[in-house]
């Protein structure tokens, strides 16, 4: 069962909610795999007391040209939709920074002189924390393309319950992170920015035909616009978390909501039961 935690707007508490749900599910005696797919800025390890098990480099495939057999036919440049290959003086020239690793150039080269080589773009680290296993991806600084790394982390699904901490926004990284989830939780806040970005995420999830519900964080900090929207759009509000300066202070030191407020544990345990029930239902 795969549960994705996404948000549209950044800073709504996605990671704290992801870690708290993982803790609540572990409390219910299940093994949980937490996948930190916010690879540009991964933070779940900061909110979980965990020990590092392994660290491996992540690479994507980029083309490498054997210049001795290139005839300058230009078929590689023609198939490349990302302008990574140009033909200069009857030889192909490759600009790997723009490469999306589709493999088209090496497939199309009639002389078979383009092979694919590995190019490191990030690191995958595995951590253990009791019943919770955390897999974190971290994109190297200066690298633009996060979806391949996200796809790689998502291969770690050999657990009964998988929770995915997604990147913010609604474009390719978020879509890659939520795809194939059985249920998506959108964490939002009751403000104009929170609602607007949530409606964009809702449009995206509906387009992808995903099953989802909402968690309203700092639920008493704004107004009732998010709840009104959810009622009108028939979206289930799974949980509301009140604003608390104690929770904010705890979070600043790396303590997730689950451990920050004594009364909230039970709320997370019942929310996780609801979420697992919804994830088990078909749309």
């Amino acid at each position: 069962m795969i549960i994705a935690v996404a948000s549209g707007k950044g800073g709504t508490g996605k990671t704290s909610v992801s870690v708290s749900l993982a803790k609540a599910i572990a409390e219910l005696d299940s093994k949980v795999k937490l996948l930190d797919c916010d690879v540009e800025e991964p933070n779940a390890n900061l909110l979980l007391e965990c020990s590092r098990i392994s660290e491996t480099d992540f690479s994507v495939k980029i083309p490498s040209l054997d210049i001795s057999c290139c005839t300058g036919c230009g078929k590689c440049a023609a198939i490349c939709e990302f302008n990574c290959i140009a033909v200069v003086k009857e030889r192909a020239v490759i600009f790997p920074d723009l490469c999306h690793s589709c493999g088209g150039c090496s497939l199309v080269c009639p002389e078979k002189c383009i092979s694919e080589i590995e190019s490191k773009t990030g690191v995958i680290t595995k951590y253990s924390s009791g019943k919770i296993h955390l897999v974190q991806g971290i994109l190297d600084i200066g690298k633009a393309m996060s979806p391949p790394l996200i796809r790689e982390i998502k291969k770690n699904t050999e657990s009964e319950i998988v929770i995915i901490d997604c990147p913010p926004g609604t474009s390719c990284p978020m879509v890659t992170a939520v795809s194939n989830a059985d249920y998506v939780i959108l964490v939002t806040e009751p403000t104009p920015f929170g609602l607007h970005d949530m409606t964009l995420a809702v449009d995206t999830l509906r387009k992808m035909k995903m099953n989802f519900g909402v968690v309203i964080n700092r639920s008493d900090s704004g107004d009732d616009r998010v709840e009104n929207y959810c009622r009108k759009e028939n979206i289930e509000v799974i949980m509301k978390i009140r604003e608390s300066i104690d929770a904010a202070r705890a979070y600043s030191k790396g303590i997730p909501l689950y451990d920050a407020l004594p009364e909230i544990k039970q709320d997370f345990i019942s929310a996780s039961k609801t979420i697992m029930k919804r994830a088990g239902e078909k749309i």
């Binding site: 540009e40 800025e41 200066g142 393309m145 926004g169 920015f193 600043s252």
Partner: protein, 292 residues
């Protein structure tokens, strides 16, 4: 003409609220919203659209079922898990398609339709603080980096046309493609962060990225009173990395309240916050060697 880009690494630190406040303080600026997949600046600036256009970028594959021979070649070659096989009926999932065209090129039956993709819309608008260049990326669309570049290009053209000497750009969170597109060639960057372990960690990553591009940067800690110890650490780190500390902003409900009223915090009547932000703005302008 100078371009100031406001970014954060970590999301939700107050980037947009601060960008809007600067827009209200700047006398002679064009405003750009480059957080194209979650653009919020318009909720405070209430711009009126003067000009707009479709943003087409990249390609999208789809399968013509009448021609498909169900050989599965497309599914075998696709590196993006975009081809779905539903009992021999092949289709392409739009949100997963990278637009590489490998399936279209190698389909033996010529059944893959490969067309330009409509990714979003761009706008040039008028607001009470001057011209705004902004955009909307369609739900789940690709190529946000290219749309960011287009928004910046539009802003620059308007700045030249209107003889403005500054562009204030609200940037996206993270450190990837849209952020790189937002800061490449900018004159100065302001990082808005928060005093949390996550904020501190993300700041180090975004600061390394900016150093990589050799752009002068300043750092402002929002809600600094949530953890003064981490605030001090962040400020120390900023100086070590060669940045400037632009100022600290305390936690205040006025940020949310003014957002609800579609106002910038500097228009909300809270003189304490207004003065702090004016001071930060002056520090940044001084750093950019500009007159206000």
């Amino acid at each position: 003409m100078k371009e100031l880009v406001i970014i954060s690494g970590k999301g939700g630190t107050g980037k947009t609220s601060l960008s809007a406040a600067f827009a209200s303080l700047a006398e002679n600026a064009v405003i750009a919203d480059c957080d194209v997949d979650a653009a919020d600046l318009h909720l405070v600036l209430s711009p009126e659209i003067v000009k707009s256009g479709l943003f087409e970028s990249g390609k999208l594959a789809s399968i013509d079922e009448s021609k498909c021979v169900s050989c599965g070649k497309c599914s075998e070659l696709c590196r993006f898990d975009a081809v779905k096989n539903n009992g021999g009926v092949f289709s392409i999932e739009e949100t997963s398609c990278e637009g590489c065209g490998v399936c279209a090129h190698f389909c033996p039956a010529g059944a893959v339709i490969f067309e330009d993709r409509k990714c979003g819309e761009w706008y040039i608008s008028k607001s009470r603080f001057g011209t705004v260049s902004h955009a909307k990326l369609f739900a789940g669309a690709e190529n946000s980096g290219k749309l960011v570049s287009l928004v910046r290009k539009n802003a620059k053209e308007k700045a030249v046309e209107e003889k403005k000497d500054l562009i204030i750009t609200d940037g996206p969170p993270g450190i990837g493609c849209p952020v790189i597109a937002s800061i490449t060639g900018a004159d100065a960057v302001l990082i808005v962060t928060e005093p949390t372990l996550s904020g501190e960690h993300d700041l180090e990553r975004i600061a390394s990225l900016i150093k990589h591009f050799r752009i002068p940067f300043s750092v402002c800690v929002n809600r600094f009173d949530v953890n003064e110890e981490i605030t001090s650490r962040i400020e120390k780190k900023t100086l070590e990395l060669g940045g400037m500390v632009a100022g600290r902003i305390p936690y205040n409900k006025i940020f949310t309240q003014s957002q609800i009223r579609s106002l910038t915090v500097t228009e909300s009547g809270c003189s304490e916050i207004e003065n702090i932000i004016k001071n930060i703005w002056e520090n940044i302008c001084r750093r950019m060697m500009m007159t206000i």
